[in-house]
Symmetry: C2
């Protein structure tokens, strides 16, 4: 890790398993202590007890008293791809673009990221590691009439910082219409005040914490997934690429770390040309349709509404419920809000495989109601794991059998991660990456394709990869 790696400061930070401040072990105790010393209670309440939210008399929609923030309404969905092709569902309409922002600063020659220990009402263990700032536009323009979130000015005022990453990325297409966040990392050189809820960590430290269940929040994961750990080959002269790997102890790298470095030197080794990848996506967008009609929450077919829950008649999918929150360390000390509560645990998994030595990921083109453009690039498997479904193999989505049946030796990552606790209540997903042997035939449905890590990162950069895939990509450890 000599100066030959200077050209990519992100990668250096990712390879640093300890930083200049808290050790990774310290971080675990710090997070536990944040949970212990803050009062934070979350209580289920009936919809009728919501003070800041009301039910629209005409539509039954749940709306915030400011008219901003978000709205829970209904969607009538029709599509041409997938196991079920026509359904109604509750959906969250959140047109505002929020900020998921991390402040970065160099200490001892290493980029550190200011991470926050934050509570959200839907979190399973209360406190998770989040970006420096996560704020809806309503937050930082103070619709809630709370204090302006600290650090937010680093992201809004370019005089104070230098942008390292700044991409619009969309969130769960199964639950949101139009929800996008600005995934942004800015670098500062000035002194940054660090409160008790914040801590400077290297990317490598965050990677290690991603081995713990439900600790690093989805918001942190999506921002991490946008980090260009290796520069594009255009960013430096060809010699630097060779130097890069020359200066590295390759034996310390994991499968994914090696794939990252390879991706710069990849030349023509992808199974498919870049234009073929683009064509696959174009073809799917031309062939398939998605129609999402907004309807009132009280017009939903096959859903029923009780005083404190909206649920599917078949008992599947998710519920809408409401909570009352008391906190002593948030810009607003107490509030209430609706949340999405899952009925089943989910599975988010990639099959990976080496083709000619180059690691490839099996992606699917998936339709979900909130997709910005019909088809999004999704993980190999993204589904719920209800007992009903697991019992009936006929209903399994493609490759679930491969993921479930694979022996332990080929599992390259496996952990339980939860979804964003500001909208989702106790949503857990199994995250898994399974490597297939290079030989053997694996027929693919039309909406599946093998892409290299470089190709997947390029699609991600342009906002075409869904949050489930981004989130899993962020988890992959670079070192063995």
């Amino acid at each position: 890790m000599g100066s030959s790696l200077k050209y990519n400061r992100f990668l250096r930070s990712a390879l640093a398993e300890e930083g200049s401040f808290a050790t990774t072990t310290d971080v675990l105790s710090w997070i536990a202590s944040r949970a212990a010393c803050n009062r934070f209670t979350v209580e289920r309440i009936p919809f009728g007890a919501l003070m800041q939210w009301s039910t629209d008399q005409d539509t039954g929609d749940l709306v915030h008293s400011s008219g901003k923030f978000f709205r829970v309404q209904g969607a009538r969905v029709q599509t041409t791809l997938g196991y079920i092709r026509q359904w109604d569902q509750p959906i969250i309409d959140q047109p505002e673009i929020g900020i998921l922002g991390i402040v970065a600063k160099e200490f001892d020659g290493l980029l550190h990221f200011l991470m926050q220990a934050k509570m959200e009402p839907g979190n399973i263990d209360g406190v998770q590691l989040t970006p420096t700032v996560q704020a809806t536009r309503s937050n930082y323009t103070q619709v809630h009439q709370g204090a302006r979130p600290p650090y937010v000015d680093y992201f809004l005022d370019r005089e104070q910082s230098r942008v390292l990453v700044d991409q619009l990325q969309f969130e769960q297409g199964s639950a949101f219409l139009r929800k996008r966040n600005r995934n942004i990392i800015v670098e500062v050189t000035e002194d940054v005040p660090v409160g008790p809820e914040h801590c400077w960590l290297t990317v490598g430290q965050v990677h290690r914490l991603l081995g713990e269940p439900n600790l690093v929040s989805m918001d942190a994961r999506t921002v991490l997934s946008c980090i260009p750990l290796v520069d594009g080959p255009h960013s430096h002269p060809p010699t630097a690429i060779t130097e890069a790997s020359g200066g590295l102890d390759l034996s310390s790298l994991s499968l994914f770390g090696s794939a990252l470095l390879e991706s710069v030197r990849e030349s023509v080794q992808s199974v498919h040309r870049d234009e073929r990848v683009m064509s696959w996506l174009t073809e799917l967008k031309c062939r398939h349709q998605l129609s999402v009609e907004r309807i009132g929450l009280n017009e939903l077919r096959s859903w029923k509404r009780g005083p404190d829950v909206i649920l599917h008649e078949g008992g599947g999918y998710f519920n809408v419920m409401a909570v009352q929150v008391e906190a002593n360390n948030r810009e607003v000390a107490s509030w209430d809000q609706p949340l999405i509560e899952p009925v089943e645990r989910g599975l988010i998994a990639f099959l990976v495989r080496r083709f000619g030595g180059t690691l490839h990921f099996l992606v699917q083109g998936k339709i979900e109601p909130g997709n910005p453009d019909v088809i999004a690039v999704a993980p190999t498997v993204q589904c719920s794991l209800g007992h009903d479904r697991l019992g009936d193999r006929g209903s399994w989505p493609p490759f679930l059998d491969v993921i479930q049946d694979e022996n332990r030796d080929s599992v390259r990552y496996s952990c339980v991660q939860s979804e964003e606790g500001g909208r989702f209540f106790h949503v857990e997903n199994e995250y898994r990456v399974v490597e297939l042997p290079p030989e053997g035939d694996l027929p693919l449905p039309e909406n599946y394709l093998w892409v290299s890590l470089r190709q997947l990162n390029e699609l991600l950069r342009f906002g075409l990869v869904n949050v489930e895939a981004r989130s899993l990509l962020a988890c992959l450890p670079l070192t063995a």
Copy 2:
């Protein structure tokens, strides 16, 4: 032009000023003869005389009898960027994805493209050079009950061809809601029947024909703009890049040809890092809003409707009118349709400038009602040149003065090109590229940025560049 260029067959074709078939001079006579030997009449008719279109009683919208194809309706637009920020206008809703497809085949070691001499009702000189196929979904699924367009199967059936380019690109955001076309080039090896309306040309020949006014159609230009004339640096080992320019007679290249080759070797020479370019676009999308409410054509404020024209009360912008068409060489022999007719000639121009030897283009982030995502990357200047506007310099958009005042020596391209004659009637735009000297200060409004050709091509590939900019980029000659 030896074998060192084999790795990019598009570039070789672009440097070939003559091909294996018609000479470029022959092409001009062929196009003239196609116009002479085909009966094609276009007659203005009142809306009431339209046979295949009717006026919706409730909304006043002009709709096709099939319910498909397109619809002329109204849009109420509100935005936060630009000279005028609130207006009503007629707009064409065309949700179907059409095909703009070119069949390519290698002859004598050179890629040739099968171009068509095609008439469209809105063309100024009747016949223009178009892609092999241009077809709406209604065309090729035979909603018009005409014959299935020839050659269309090469694009729909992947067994018959290999995809070279396949991108979804959107069209005029000022006139269309949601109109996107699949810009696709496929290569075949089998014998292709060539009728009297088609001809094999090299990219270089088409480039030379782009020096003629109103000859190469907008549809052809947008497909050409998607061609990766140089591969990304990842597509071949670094040595090939050096070889590439080694095998070339650099003195034969134009400013743009040199910039293309440079773009592969560009390394860190762009004025702005790629993440800075992305951040500029992200920031504009977060800062600005675009609201487009669909309204009935009879609800438009400030527009009036006569029996044969819908026009703005101030006399500006464009009119909607209708024509009756008779043709003997189209899948449908006679039809009628509404068209958009401009009131003024337009200007589409890029300022270019060398920074540290690397050519950069000044792009603007522009809002138009049909933009897929609020802001699109547009040319430096994209405006109409009405007498009113030209007389009042205060109303000029940024940099129009620089384009207008620049002396002849710095004009790198100048020609009149027309817009798509299937929707636009006699729409002409001046296309111009003006080079600024490297020295001197040029302050930029927030929504303008200098980007290198490689960066612009990357934005284009992901569908972020508007059709006006794409169309102008396609015109740039590679050889001096």
